[in-house]
Symmetry: C2
Subunit: 365 residues, 2 copies
């Protein structure tokens, strides 16, 4: 048995947990709130955070310029604001984009890293402390040491990783997700399903991550019918937010696999939502792993009461609806890009370039 | 859904993990190795630690005066050595006694706490960084924020708790446990079983701790036959060490219950080993919880393929063998002591003094 486990974030889950745990915001004197244009306000999370900060006389500045699939420019811009305003901690409100941006901003606010070196794997271990408040149930970023940014130079999304990127606190209240549209709800749910399933198909899979991944897969599978019908209950929302946090704990141990690596091109070139991109590829990649290790995939499928990866692929197709159109040439380019990506190499069986292309073709054409 | 989760210790599990991860010892320049008279040497762990330290030119001093059920005097003595020798981190090698002592020493080496105030709940949040290397598979102390010491004033064992008592690293190698005698193996296995079962009968039980507890209970139950026959395999040793760590993760979230609170008197007054003391009471306490919440106990029992708490009690009796003798008056004193203990009040149903006495009587007479 070989195992490594590290996840230092303090997780608090519950209705009204931001207002009821306002003391946790005392980790600093002045906060930079990192968020997107709308989600923080619409979800009600920003009001709760303001309440908690004002109650404790903590100053704050809002940086709300985070776009979907945030760029390197965006996070350097945020870090400049953090330094100018002399904040001493960062609060992220939103989905993966604001949470990942907040991590990069917290890093860059106290580390002198040139843009060209940001992805070279040597970012040190110093960042401002952070509090993350997810308003979607997908990324799990609130409990991971990763920040995913768009890297135009490599024409894909790339992650930066360091233990200093684990937030100090993650505050999870499912009420912030209740007004999410169906597409976002589905895409993020499938993203978090992908995290746990990929965690079990990762080279770094281990028995402790497995336990958590299986629980997450079971929980998400119990919402499949409602994801298909589009009728999400409050209970579904709680389950999905909890499971997405579990998925984050999983990948903070195992990292992701070829599914994420391959999905990035669908997002980069076709603007397909990140979770949806993973979902479009996950079934076929699971079939690929099944051909190499049937028992392993059986373990995963049994959490969903499924018998074959084909069946899994069909359910995902039902949840995700009509596919986008692709040309063979596009997929060849994507396969080229994905073949040496970290996620690909982290798969428990590493697909060759031809196999990657085959997975793309079987998934998308 | 309400949940809090925090466990910042980096866990590394695997054969030869101390030698193979010697870099982790670079958290300081001079170490105090805290251990008992024999276990560190006999298990081979001390040799491995010396190898790792010498490889990195890290100085060390050995404090090997920790006795079973360590006293307050012992840890102040260790802290004095730590200060005199100007160590900057602490390495614990051993079972619960050295690991818990090491935590108190790491705390007292940098905090000015008077003996009379040690248990008053206000110990601050500053301690030397620690690396814990268990040589028994029971306590789980390597991943908890607790240190349990003997408190003669209150005639029982009391815990001190602070997030600063989480070790920085826990290094788990089952080879250190392979020469443990059968009694120690059984008692520590039952201690860790008790942690996970109690975690599920705690007021603080939560869905994440449940997942981990269930896994631990399943694993330990798979060794019941070998614990009874006394023929432990290498695989059993790995499983038990892993499960004891999981049990530590569980109680670091849920704390323990009346079982631990009641067990402390058996240890304090009759010198019964800690794990055995819990095991003698666990079956009857589970019956008490079963009378109040049958479904909850069913969830626990199903991990062991058992149908009733009575059946669980019988298996524990088989594993633990002949009981010690007790007088009714003794048990009345113990019930008096246990009734207001923290563990008792942390039970999901809090037994009255009469119910505590009844649990003692049904367990021990």
């Amino acid at each position: 048995m070989n195992l490594g486990f590290y996840m230092p974030t303090k997780v608090i889950v519950g209705k009204d947990c931001v207002r009821e745990n306002s003391d946790v915001f005392k980790i600093g004197k002045k906060a930079l709130i990192v968020t997107g244009k709308n989600s923080a306000k619409l979800s009600g999370a920003l009001d709760d955070v303001k309440y908690a900060l004002e109650k404790n006389n903590i100053e704050y500045v809002i940086f709300d310029k985070v776009m979907s699939n945030p760029t390197v420019e965006c996070v350097y811009d945020g870090a400049e604001t953090a330094m100018e305003e002399e904040v001493d901690f960062v609060i992220a409100i939103g989905g993966g984009s604001p949470m990942d941006s907040a991590k990069a901003i917290a890093l860059l606010a106290v580390s002198d890293i040139e843009r060209k070196n940001l992805f070279d794997g040597n970012i040190g271990n110093k960042a401002l402390p952070m509090i993350h408040i997810p308003t979607t149930a997908g990324t799990g970023s609130e409990v991971t040491p990763y920040a995913i940014l768009t890297n135009h130079e490599k024409q894909t999304k790339k992650s930066i990783a360091s233990p200093c990127l684990f937030p100090t606190y993650a505050l999870l209240d499912a009420k912030y997700t209740k007004n999410l549209g169906l597409a976002t709800t589905v895409n993020t749910a499938i993203d978090s399903l992908s995290h746990s399933v990929e965690g079990m198909m990762s080279k770094r899979a281990n028995i402790m991550a497995d336990v958590i991944a299986k629980e997450a897969v079971k929980i998400i599978a119990s919402t499949f019918d409602d994801l298909i019908s589009g009728e999400l209950t409050e209970d579904d929302r709680e389950k999905l937010l909890y499971a997405s946090m579990l998925g984050g704990v999983v990948i903070s141990q195992t990292k992701t696999t070829a599914v994420h690596a391959m999905g990035y091109s669908l997002t980069y070139f076709k603007n397909i939502d990140h979770g949806r991109a993973n979902g479009l590829l996950l079934g076929e990649f699971t079939k690929y792993i099944e051909r190499n290790d049937k028992d392993r995939v059986k373990e995963i499928l049994s959490c969903m009461n499924l018998d074959s990866a084909e069946e899994f692929k069909n359910i995902l197709a039902k949840i995700l609806g009509d596919k986008e159109k692709f040309e063979k040439e596009e997929l060849e380019l994507y396969a080229e890009i994905a073949q040496n990506a970290g996620g690909t190499l982290n798969s428990m069986f590493v697909p060759s370039k031809d196999e990657i292309l085959q997975i793309y073709v079987e998934s998308l054409m």
